[in-house]
Symmetry: C2
Subunit: 663 residues, 2 copies
C-alpha cells in the first residue's frame, strides 16, 4: 500500500488499526461502542513545510497519520487519538460528564425499532385503533438541551403514520401526537411526551385515529400523471477537462485536494489558481436548524447536523445520471460502525464539469465582432440526508479564479400534528392535519485563507456617498470605497446599505496595476441571523449563528463553529470562545467563518417534497490578478459547442433565423 498523502481520507485499513488498538487497550472492560472516527488534520506548520517540499519536488518531511476515535465504554464517553502510522494510542481521554457524542446510525436503528415495539409505546399505539393498511413509523431525533441537570444521552422519537402497503409512503404527512424519549446508550424508555396540536400548548390523551389523508411524494403513490419531457444529454466526447491523481484535482489552472470526511462531508485543501495560493482549507463547519414553534417539546428541535450526526456519515451514495450530468468522477469514503469495523461508502462526493452560461462577452458595435467565452465550472458535490431533509453542498470553481459555495436545501419538512381548521402563527399547514413550523438553517463555512501566503488580513469595504462640497463634490454625485481592517478576533456586522463586502487581503503583496494590496472578496447577501432569544438554549448553543462573518486566530483543531461536541451541548464552545476580542488577527494566520443563514417559513409548495432552495457565498479575486485571469479561455463557437436551430413543427416556412445566421 502506498503511503497516503497527509490530507488523504481515512482508509479501511487505518480504521482497522485504530479499532484494534482501542480494543486491545480496553480489554477487560465492557466492549467499546464506537461512535465516530476519522483522520485528524495534520498540524498546519508541518503541512506548510510538507506542501512547500512537494511543490519544490524534494522529499517532504514525514507526517504521521493520526485518527480521532469517539467511543463509549458503558456510559463513559472517550476520545482517543491514535497514531495509525506507527500503531499506538497518543491520548485517550474521558470526556466530562454531560458531554455527549454524536448519534450513531446503529443506535438510531435500534431506537427506531424500539419506539414502536416497546410495551409502553405499543400500548399508546393500541389506543389509535389503526386499520391494517396503516403503520406507525418513528424518526429518532436529536434531543435539544433544555435542562442543565440532564446528562443522559437521550433521543426524542417523533411518531408518524404511513401506508403499510408501500415502503415509500410519506410518514411525514401524518405526525402523531405522542413522542417517546429513549436513552440512546442503555435503550431504556425515559418518558412519553405529548405534542400539542391545537392553537396553544394543550395536549390531549391518545384516542382512536380515523382520518388518513396521506400526502405522498413517491411517483408510485402521488397520483400524478407525468409531464412529457424530452432528454437533455451532456456529452463530453473527448473526456473531461480535469485530471485526478488520488484526491488531487487539476482543472483549468486550478489545483486542490478534495477529501471526504465523516463530519464535514468533505474539505478542500491547498487551493491554488494559476500557480498562486488562495486557500489552505475550505469546509462546511457546522449547521444548526432551530425551530420556531414555542411549545413543548418542539423547543428541543435544534439539530446540529454536523456535530450531532455528521454530514459525511449521512452522505448519499450518488448515482450516475441522477445527481449530475456529463462525465462524473466519484470519491469514496470509509466510516466505522459501532463495532469499529470499517464500512465502505462509495460515491459520497462527485466531481464534474458543467456549463454555466457566459463567462464574458463584448461586441464591438463598430465592427459587430464579438469576443465571447462560455463559463465552464468544476463542481465538488456531496448530498447528505439528515432524516427528513436533504442538503447538497457544492463547491464550484470557475475559469476566472472564482469559488462559489452553493448549498441546496431539499427533502421533506419536519412536520407537526395539527387539528382540523386550526392555523398557528409559527408555522404553515402543508397538508390535512399536518403543520410545518418556521425554522432556520444556519450554516457556518470555515474559510482558512492563504492568499499569496499565510500572512493575511481581513478587512471590510463600505461604499459611501461623498459629502457635499463645492470643490471636491460640486455636483453631489461622488461616492468612494472605504476600507476597515479587523485587528482583533471577533465579528463584522452586516451592512448591506453601505454595500459592505468582506476581503481577505495580503498586505505584503501589492498589485502592480491597482497599487493596492492583493485580495480575495467574500460576497454574500445580508441575511437574518438567529432568531431565538439570547436567553434561550438555542442561542447559547449556536452563538456562531448570531453574526454573518467571524474572524479568529488560526489554531490547529479549531474546526467546528459551535465546538467539537454539540449534541445536548449547553453552550457554543467554538466561536463563542475563539472570537475573543483579544487575539491579534491582522497580517497573520487567521480563519474566516461565514454564516449562511436562511429563515424558512414553509410554503404549501414545499410539501410533500421541497423544490430546491439555493444559497450562495462567492469567494472571488478582487485586485488579486493584474487583469481578467480568464483571457486565456478559448472563444466560444459552434464547431466546439454544436448547438442546433429549433425547427418549428408548426411552421410551414423555414424559420427566418435559419437563413440569417448562415451568413
Amino acid at each position: 500500500m502506498a503511503t497516503p498523502h497527509p490530507f488523504d481520507p481515512i482508509s479501511g485499513a487505518e480504521i482497522n488499526i485504530a479499532t484494534k488498538l482501542i480494543k486491545d487497550a480496553t480489554k477487560g472492560t465492557e466492549k467499546p461502542h464506537f461512535i465516530q472516527m476519522d483522520r485528524l488534520d495534520p498540524p498546519k506548520k508541518d503541512m506548510i513545510k510538507y506542501l512547500a517540499a512537494e511543490r519544490a519536488n524534494v522529499t517532504p518531511p514525514h507526517i504521521s497519520r493520526i485518527v480521532y476515535v469517539y467511543y463509549y465504554i458503558g456510559l463513559i464517553f472517550h476520545k482517543a487519538l491514535v497514531n495509525v502510522t506507527y500503531g499506538h494510542i497518543v491520548t485517550d481521554k474521558v470526556l466530562p460528564k454531560g458531554v455527549v457524542g454524536p448519534l450513531m446510525a446503529d443506535d438510531v436503528e435500534v431506537v427506531e425499532k424500539l419506539a414502536t415495539t416497546h410495551p409502553i409505546v405499543a400500548a399508546e399505539i393500541e389506543k389509535l385503533k389503526l386499520p391494517a393498511f396503516v403503520k406507525v413509523v418513528c424518526d429518532p431525533w436529536i434531543y435539544g438541551k433544555d435542562d442543565p441537570n440532564e446528562d443522559r444521552f437521550l433521543v426524542q422519537c417523533y411518531m408518524y403514520l404511513a401506508s403499510a402497503y408501500h415502503p415509500e409512503s410519506n410518514h411525514y404527512s401524518l405526525p402523531l401526537k405522542f413522542s417517546p424519549v429513549f436513552n440512546c446508550l442503555t435503550k431504556e424508555f425515559v418518558r412519553m411526551d405529548y405534542l400539542p396540536a391545537g392553537i396553544d400548548g394543550t395536549v390531549t390523551a391518545t384516542e382512536a385515529w380515523t382520518e388518513f389523508p396521506f400526502v405522498e411524494y413517491h411517483p408510485d403513490l402521488n397520483g400524478e400523471s407525468l409531464r412529457p419531457l424530452k432528454p437533455l444529454i451532456v456529452q463530453q466526447p473527448e473526456g473531461p477537462s480535469f485530471t485526478t491523481e488520488g484526491n488531487n484535482i487539476k482543472w483549468q489552472s486550478w489545483e486542490f485536494r478534495v477529501i471526504p470526511l465523516a463530519r464535514e462531508g468533505f474539505a478542500i485543501y491547498d487551493i491554488y489558481f494559476k500557480g498562486r495560493s488562495i486557500l489552505y482549507r475550505l469546509s462546511l463547519s457546522e449547521m444548526t436548524v432551530p425551530y420556531g414553534d414555542p411549545r413543548h417539546p418542539s423547543h428541543r428541535k435544534q439539530a446540529f447536523d454536523l456535530g450531532d450526526c455528521g454530514f459525511g456519515v449521512n452522505a448519499n451514495s450518488l448515482a450516475l445520471g441522477c445527481d449530475c450530468l456529463g462525465i462524473i468522477k466519484y470519491l469514496d469514503f470509509n466510516k466505522c460502525d459501532s463495532t469499529g469495523a470499517p464500512t465502505f461508502s462509495p460515491n459520497t462526493v462527485c466531481l464534474h464539469e458543467q456549463d454555466a452560461g457566459l463567462l464574458y462577452k463584448h461586441v464591438n458595435y463598430r465592427t459587430n465582432v464579438p469576443v465571447v467565452a462560455r463559463k465552464r465550472e468544476f463542481v465538488v458535490q456531496t448530498i447528505a440526508t439528515v432524516a427528513n431533509y436533504e442538503y447538497a453542498l457544492n463547491v464550484i470553481f470557475n475559469q476566472a479564479g472564482e469559488i462559489k459555495i452553493h448549498v441546496l436545501a431539499t427533502g421533506i419538512l419536519s412536520t407537526w400534528p395539527i387539528e382540523k381548521d386550526i392555523t398557528v402563527p409559527w408555522g404553515t399547514n402543508v397538508g390535512p392535519l399536518v403543520m410545518a413550523a418556521n425554522h432556520q438553517h444556519m450554516l457556518s463555512f470555515r474559510i482558512d485563507p492563504a492568499v499569496d501566503g499565510h500572512e493575511n488580513s481581513i478587512a471590510y469595504d463600505d461604499v459611501v456617498t461623498m459629502e457635499s462640497d463645492p470643490v471636491h463634490n460640486p455636483f453631489n454625485v461622488g461616492f468612494v470605497n472605504e476600507r476597515t481592517y479587523v485587528e482583533k478576533a471577533g465579528y463584522i456586522e452586516q451592512s448591506p446599505f453601505t454595500n459592505r463586502s468582506y476581503k481577505i487581503v495580503n498586505e505584503n503583496v501589492i498589485n502592480p496595476i491597482s497599487h493596492q494590496p492583493v485580495a480575495y472578496k467574500i460576497a454574500m447577501p445580508a441575511k437574518q441571523m438567529l432568531l431565538a432569544d439570547p436567553k434561550s438554549y438555542n442561542a447559547k448553543r449556536a452563538h456562531f449563528a448570531t453574526q454573518q462573518l467571524w474572524v479568529t486566530k488560526y489554531r490547529d483543531h479549531e474546526l467546528f463553529a459551535a465546538g467539537e461536541f454539540t449534541n445536548q451541548s449547553e453552550t457554543d464552545t467554538g466561536l463563542a470562545v475563539w472570537a475573543n476580542g483579544k487575539d491579534d488577527v491582522r497580517n497573520t494566520d487567521q480563519v474566516v467563518w461565514a454564516t449562511m443563514g436562511f429563515t424558512h417559513v414553509p410554503r404549501t409548495e414545499d410539501f410533500p417534497v421541497m423544490p430546491v432552495e439555493a444559497h450562495d457565498i462567492a469567494i472571488v479575486p478582487s485586485g488579486f490578478f493584474d487583469r481578467n485571469p480568464a483571457l486565456d479561455v478559448p472563444q466560444s463557437n459552434n464547431s466546439f459547442n454544436k448547438s442546433q436551430y429549433y425547427k418549428d413543427p408548426n411552421s410551414l416556412v423555414t424559420a427566418s433565423s435559419d437563413s440569417c445566421c448562415k451568413m
Copy 2:
C-alpha cells in the same frame, strides 16, 4: 398576411405604414428624422376581454394595432400614435422644449466620425503627435443633465487611443483627456471639455502622448496562450420540450408570449402555469448607470440604458453555440432607421432549455430509495451592447412554477485617464494610465401581476422573534411571520434582518390547505440603493432607484420607471409621480416595480473585459398551489440522462466507484 396577435412585435410592413403616414402628413416641412418606433401595448381592459375570448375559443374582439413614432422635424421633437391597422394618424404631438428623444444609432455614427475629423478636434489630436500605429477612437455618450437652461440635444464624446493595426484593439484601455461636445441634431461642435487625470479636478492642456501600453481583450492581441478545454455538448436528440406558435410558447405546463421590443428588449405577456394566471406582463422597465467620480465632466455620466437608447435596438444578433447551448429558437425584431425604413434584426431573443441541477431529492434512509427529479429551465434571453457594457437579460422559468429574472453584466468598463502613480478614492486603476470609476447599475423590473386574476394585493412579510412569555413562549425559541398589506401607491422599505419578503396576494382566493390567500413571492437580496445625494440631478432623474420595491395603481402606458423621456431629463417622471401615496392599491389592479441594484467598485480582474457579474430576482409560488406543483416531473435516471463514469487516465486499477455502482 395573417392578422397579428395584439401582443405581436411590430412588423416591417407596419413600420412602412407608419413611416408613410408620417411622411405624408409632414409633406412640405423638413424631412422627418425618425428616432424610434414600436407597437404600443393594447389597452389592458380590451386585452383582458381578448384573452378571455381566446381561452374560451370564441372570436376575440377586434383590437387595432397602434404604433408610437418618435421623430424630429428639424429641432422639433414629435410623438405620433399611428393606427397601422386602419392606416391613420391617431395623434401627433410636439413635445415640450427640453424634452429630448433617445439617441439614434444613425446619429451616433455621424457624430462618432465627426469627433475625429472636425477641425477643432483634429487640431487637438494633432497636439498628441501620435505615431502611425496609433489611432484615435470616439465613443459618443449620453449627455447627463447638469444645466436647467440647456435644452439642446447634446452628445459628449469620450476619446481614446487604440492600435491602428487591428480593428479590435481595445480603445477603452487608453482614454484621452479631452472630450468634445456636439449637438446631436445639427451636428454642430458645441465645446471642448477636458478630463482631469490627477488626484483632483485640475485639467491640463493637450500635449504629446508617448506611452501606449494597450491592454487588449481580443484573442488576436491579448498575448495569452490558450488553456486546453474539452468540448461539453448539450444534445437534445428528440428535440426540445417546448413548442412555439409565433411568439406564443408552451413549455412544461407554462404558457406565455415573448415579444421583442425596441425599448425593453422584450416583454413577456399573459403568463400561465398549470392553467392558472400568474402575471399579465413582465419586463425590464429602465436601467440607470450613475458614476461616482465627482469631477467635471464625469458628473454627466448617468446613462438610462432603456430610455436614452433602447435595449431592443441595441440587442445583439445572437449566434448559435455562442450565447447558449442545445436547441435554440430565435426571435427576430424590426426597428426603424432614421429615414423610417424598417431594419430587420435577426435573433435578438433566444429561447432554449437548460439543465439546472436538482429540482428535488429525498432518500428514505430506511430503504435507501431516492426520489429525485432534475430541474429543467426555460430561458428567454436578450443581450444588449450599450457602447462599452454588455447586459444579458434572462427570464428563466422552471418546472416548479418559479420565474427567475437573471441579469448578467459583462463587457468593458467605462474608463477615465489617470496619470502615472496616481490613485483616486472613487475608482480603481485597471491598467497603466487608465482608471475605472465606481458606479452603480440600477435596473427597474416592472411586474404586472395577475395572480389568479387581476384583483391582487401587495404585502410584505416579516419574521420576528416572539416576546418572552412564561405561557406562550416559555423556552424563548418562538418566531412568527407577520404580514402587512400595502394600501396606497408607494414603496416598501428593505428589511433584511426581519427576513422581509414581498408578496403578490389574491385575497379573494383561499388556499384550501394553508387556509391563507394564495400568493406569489418576490424574493430579492437587500441591496444598496442609489448613492447620489438627493440634491443631485442623478438622484432627481432616477428617483425609482432610491427604493427596492414600489407599488403603483395600474394605468395603461405607465411602463417606464423613470418616465417616458429620460435623455437629458431633469426629473423622474415615472415612479416619482405614480407612487403618489394616494392611489388605492389593495385588492385591485396594481403594478410592482422591483429595483435590482448593484454598486460596482471595479476590480483589476474586470479589465480589459469583465467576467460576468450576475444578479437575480425570484418570483415563486408561496401558498399558491396546494402542494409541490412539480410532483409530475419524471424521475431522473441514467437511461434518460446518459452520464458516464470518469476513467482515470493515471489509474492502474479500475476506479472503485465503477464496481459499486453497477450493483
